[in-house]
């Protein structure tokens, strides 16, 4: 088992009047997410809040009651928990899509979502859109989300061609929550280790702060302080969009007590 220390903040930035980002963190549920809404007036805020609330409620029921309806066709390549997270994302997508379709004020609204869910000793990461999830492990930083925008998609097919595309296309998403009746999230399941740090942010941060800078800051500062430093840095550089960031630190679980804990510690010493 693992112990988690986390923090998250959102900031309107320097140019926008409203904040369309939503985020959620829960160390008991071990669920963390950022959603970056889009759509005029208040629609972006509505979409991102709806995404976060739906996923939170579903995952809470999954944990507390365990009797969430079975999935119709679980993805065999994923664990049960990853399938759950995927279901919650699908449900949230349907919710946003329905509201957008049935209400003229919310027409065309959508959101991104990037979520991390910890189970025992693995972490499950899922995303739709361009809000990046970074893992800091062993001194390096790695992007674990898949960026669903035109530039990134073309980079995967033909890097030479993609470099010639208009840079503004990086804000053109190829997938979004609530845009179509169904959505496909990208999922990744990995082992987590003591000392690992995960960051989930909106593009308001990643457009202005490089992965290397994120790495240096989260390594040097505890989560609460690191979040503030990152947001301040993005604001200093123009803050053209809303800025949201969650920093999650994996610590060793020292609460492992009792006779079994002692035995396992002794065994470790002997065999190390």
């Amino acid at each position: 088992m693992i112990a988690i220390e986390s923090a998250g903040i959102t900031d309107v930035g320097q140019k926008r009047t409203g904040n369309e980002d939503s985020f959620y963190l829960d160390d008991d549920l071990k669920l963390y997410m950022v959603a970056d809404g889009m759509g005029g007036h208040l629609a972006g805020e509505v979409a991102s809040a709806l995404v976060v609330d739906t996923i939170r409620d579903y995952m809470k029921r999954f944990k507390e009651e365990g009797d969430v309806e079975e999935m119709e066709d679980p993805d065999e390549t994923l664990s049960k928990e990853a399938n759950r997270l995927l279901s919650s994302i699908n449900l949230a997508n349907q919710g946003v899509h329905q509201v957008a379709q049935s209400n003229e004020d919310y027409k065309g609204m959508g959101s991104t979502v990037s979520a991390a869910f910890f189970t025992g000793d693995t972490m499950i990461l899922a995303n739709v859109g361009d809000s990046p999830i970074y893992l800091v492990h062993d001194g390096g930083i790695e992007l674990l989300s898949v960026t669903h925008n035109v530039i990134s998609e073309q980079m995967a097919i033909n890097p030479e061609m993609a470099q010639k595309l208009d840079k503004r296309l990086q804000h053109m998403l190829t997938r979004g929550m609530g845009i179509e009746a169904a959505v496909e999230a990208d999922v990744c399941e990995i082992q987590c280790f003591e000392g690992d740090i995960l960051t989930i942010s909106s593009d308001g941060l990643s457009d202005l702060v490089s992965p290397e800078e994120i790495l240096d800051i989260v390594k040097a500062e505890p989560p609460v302080k690191a979040c503030q430093t990152l947001v301040d840095l993005a604001n200093e550089r123009g803050g053209h969009d809303n800025i949201t960031v969650i920093v999650i630190k994996i610590n060793a679980d020292n609460a492992k007590g009792g006779i079994m804990g002692m035995i396992s510690r002794i065994m470790k010493k002997i065999f190390h």
Binding site: D36, M38, E76, T77, L78, S79, A82, G110, T112, D121, T122, D130, H137, D138, E142, L143, L144, S145, V146, V150, E153, Q154, A156, I157, N158, M161, L165, D166, K167, R168, L169, H171, M172, L173, T174, R175, G176, I179, E180, D186, V187, C188, E189, I190, Q191, F193, D203, H240, D241, M267, F271
Partner: protein, 234 residues
């Protein structure tokens, strides 16, 4: 609103104003908003659309192509002073003095939006040559037994478990083997192998894995009595 100045060999022929919300067509035929009488120009050669705060030039698959600042373009967001070459004529795109220009990286597209899937495919079909239009294929990792088993294992799962437990994807016996001894996870950047628990730690190319390592082609994984080789296939 910006203007287009049509020139030919340093002589200004005409000036056109582009209004917001308007589309302008350029071509040899008289029905175009900007007619250019020259055989090097296609009947319907290119168009300029007002999109959000910006203006987008699109080549209408003309025979001789459209060039902006000497580069062949299929579509291009126009900037102050852009030089558009159509056949032998040049159009200069310029804003009025003191007029508000969309930000260099701004315009409406600074707002994140989701592309209409059909429109997107259409646009890409125009923007990208046919030869390049292959779908990106995800490589699939494969393990082949070198010892302790036979055959190959395709790593289709996001997380493949190796260990003593019967629920493992690859079951490996041994007294010191963990229920789940190691996992292989598929990440956007490739596959990685992690040590999970138990006294038997996995080895990659002879080196003990204490946490995790990224797998490269032909890496040899050793865990207990089993030896596997990793290869990723396109």
């Amino acid at each position: 609103m910006p203007t287009l100045t049509l020139t030919f060999k340093d002589n200004t022929i005409a000036t056109y104003r582009i209004e917001e919300g308007q589309s302008i067509t350029i071509g040899r035929k008289a029905s175009n908003n900007v007619p250019i009488e020259n055989l090097a120009v296609s009947g319907h050669h290119a168009k300029i659309d007002s999109v959000g705060e910006g203006f987008l030039l699109t080549d209408l698959q003309s025979k001789n192509g459209s060039f902006v600042n000497k580069e062949l373009v299929s579509s291009h967001w126009l900037k102050e002073g852009d030089n558009i070459l159509i056949g032998k004529h040049t159009l200069i795109f310029a804003y009025d003095e003191g007029e508000q220009k969309p930000d260099e990286l701004g315009g409406d597209m600074d707002q994140t939006m989701v592309m209409d899937t059909d429109k997107y495919r259409d646009m890409l079909a125009q923007a990208i040559p046919k030869a390049a239009k292959a779908e990106a294929k995800e490589p699939v990792g494969m393990l082949s037994y070198l010892a302790g088993g036979e055959g190959e294992i395709k790593l289709v799962k996001k997380l493949t478990k190796i260990g003593k437990s019967s629920t493992s994807d690859i079951v490996v016996g041994g007294l010191m083997m963990g229920a789940t001894a190691a996992t292989i996870s598929k990440r956007p950047q490739g596959y990685s192998l992690s040590y999970v628990g138990g006294m038997t730690k996995p080895k990659v190319n002879g080196a003990t894995v204490k946490e995790s390592v990224t797998l490269k082609d032909f890496d040899q994984i050793e865990i207990g009595s089993v030896k596997l080789q990793f290869v990723s296939e396109k």
